[in-house]
């Protein structure tokens, strides 16, 4: 097995008396899209900044692309910070070329790559415009282009789709998928769980500076899937034998039935069929949405 692209081991970070990150460990593998989830203030951005060597951990070790951070390794990383920033008074092409060259590209290569990306993002006609003349959505796309200008091996993006309309979100998601196919490793933080379900193989969910969940998306979801059944129909779901608790939807047509310990799906199917007044139109294993898991983690209803 190849060595991980990122290895974070027992890392802790304090800001004065406030513990931002507490003894976390995880790894990111070559070529995957890895999600970092968690509520605001969970420690995601601090962790990203420590990976990027912008700030130092108080304890623990971080290895990126095979070792400790060096100037050469920095040039292989693309970073999109949560707080976006561009030179507003500089022309697009000039700015992209400058930022590319700061990552070690030659002037010719940087110019060619900038034009290639502008064309991909359908912004090539704006190449000689200043950033301040572009719409907010266009600026977001440029910000993303700057991140991938130098064809980095590792991309770390903090909330890459925030503020984007669905069409532009799709454009950037496609670009991420293309990069991954080319072998680029991507770490992204987002609050949009459906994006994680669609794009990511594995995830790390943080809460209050600690690791709340860590594993593949399927693992995390299935970990909470075995004890509940999703049903559609009508009846007094809570009265069915084996049901511990029934979460009924607003319109009353669907419900998630939490099963008592020892009750299997087959037991429940039989029980439902035998319970008078209950009419089942749909019966399925309940796989919780990441969104639900996220909320339960934040509310403290799930243990790591």
């Amino acid at each position: 097995m190849t060595s991980p692209v990122i290895s974070v081991q027992n890392v802790t970070k304090n800001y004065g008396s406030f513990r931002a990150v507490s003894d976390i460990s995880f790894e990111v593998q070559q070529g995957e899209i890895f999600a970092m989830l968690g509520p605001n203030g969970a420690g995601k951005s601090t962790t990203m900044r420590m990976i990027l060597d912008i700030i130092k951990p108080d304890s623990g070790t971080i290895s990126v692309l095979g070792g400790k951070m060096t100037d050469a390794i920095k040039d292989k990383i693309g970073y999109l910070p949560e707080e976006r920033g561009l030179y507003r008074g500089v022309k697009l092409l000039e700015m992209m070329s400058y930022l590319g060259r700061l990552k070690g590209m030659s002037r010719g290569d940087a110019n060619a790559r900038a034009l290639e990306l502008l064309k991909y993002l359908e912004l090539d006609s704006h190449a000689k415009k200043k950033v301040s003349e572009l719409s907010k959505g266009m600026q977001q796309k440029i910000q993303f282009a700057v991140t991938v200008m130098h064809r980095p091996q590792l991309i770390i993006v903090d909330e890459p789709f925030s503020g984007l309309d669905p069409v532009n979100t799709r454009v950037l998601m496609d670009l991420l998928m293309t990069l991954r196919k080319d072998g680029t490793t991507i770490v992204m933080s987002t609050h949009q769980m459906f994006q994680v379900e669609e794009l990511c193989e594995r995830l790390l969910m943080m809460n209050k500076g600690t690791v709340a969940l860590y594993g593949t998306v399927d693992e995390v979801r299935s970990r909470y899937a075995t004890h509940a059944i999703e049903v559609e129909g009508k009846g007094d779901w809570a009265s069915v034998p084996g049901v511990a608790h029934a979460d009924i939807s607003e319109n009353g047509r669907t419900a998630v039935l939490q099963l008592k310990e020892g009750t299997t799906s087959n037991d429940m199917l039989t029980a439902l069929a035998q319970t008078p007044g209950v009419e089942v139109q749909k019966f399925a294993q309940a796989v919780p949405r990441l969104n639900d898991i996220f909320i339960r983690v934040v509310e403290g209803r799930v243990n790591a």
């Binding site: 800001y15 912008i54 707080e83 920033g85 930022l99 700061l102 990552k103």
Partner: protein, 420 residues
Amino acid sequence: MNMTKVWLIAMQEFWSNLKRPSFLFAVFGTPILVAASIGLGVLTGSSGDDLGSYSPVGVLDRTEQGIFSNQVQPEEYPDLFVWVTDEASARQAMTDGELVGYIDFSPEYVASGKATLYGLRSAPEDLFDAADSLVLANLSATVELPLPTARIENSADLTITVLDGNRTFDSDSVFFITLLPLMFGFFLVLASMTTSSFLMNTLSEEKANRIMEILITSVRPLELLAGKVLGMGLLGLLQVVVFLVAGVVGLSIAQQQDFLLGLSIPPDMIVLALVYYILSYFLLAAGLAGIGAISNSEQESRQLSVIIVMPVMLPYMAIVTFLLDPNGAIPTIFSLIPFTSPMAIMMRSGLTTVPAWQIAVSIIGLIVTDLLILWGASRLFRWGILSYGKTPGLRGIWQVLRGRGDSVGQTAVKAKEVTS
């Protein structure tokens, strides 16, 4: 330190600022305004100077005819002149502080009309009128002497020699000769101030629009600081070259006029000016870069920049004091204090010969201060570039300099955490 990246940052800084209309105005417009204000200061300074501080002046009569033997004081200046018997006693009187200078009427005076004023510093314009009155008053008392009528029509053409230097002035060009080096020196300090202010503004801007976080994942903070200081320093040098070229062109035009013949900037002053430009630039650039890094907006950084800019500008505000007595207590003290010394020495160089020890002390003081400011700026810079809390006040800045920035600002990323 990756010098390729430092140079890349320097060049980006150089070209992007060169294209700014506000910078072009600062380069070409401000000097014109400042020249006008200095001219006004000199004019008001000299008209207010009625020789009160330039008195008494010795008269050494070495003419064969003894033109001044009657020792007649001109009516307008009854107490100005004191007669001396020989050169040695005149110089002794100057050393003892009894005379500010003396006019030597040599045996050749009758034929040439040229006399020499030896002084400790350059004389106010009124002395030339006083010398004319002195000659006419004494000629009237000795009408029987066979003198060329030219001596009556054109009584005295004074050449001023500052005793402890090699600068000489003649009666007609004294105003321009004192003014020109004064402006030249002033513009150099202004150049370093202009470029440093732009450096501070670009840093505040990069911080405010959050591009700093991207830059910092490409280069080290000190590479960024070095590149910016270098780029803006080169821009400042360009500004100095513009001043010099304008000065040379202006002088060559001015020298078409008889009365401006001999107008020049002494070479030693050019060297001195360049030394002070570099030293004052590092002082200002590093100081203002530190301020730019800890401020959250251009407005805030401008307010804080007063801490650095005000002391540097102080001598300019005391320009009249400098004109009246360039070797006086205030100009001398200003010349020795690191922040005020570049402007003070440059202004005095145009008016008098600054003692070498004062130049040496000021240069050493500036070098030490530059190093201290660079050290402090790098601390503020590393602490400030990624902190977006409240801009720290003087107390906060002091804490950061002492390495105790942890408690300053809520969202600050502390100095020791950022890779240097």
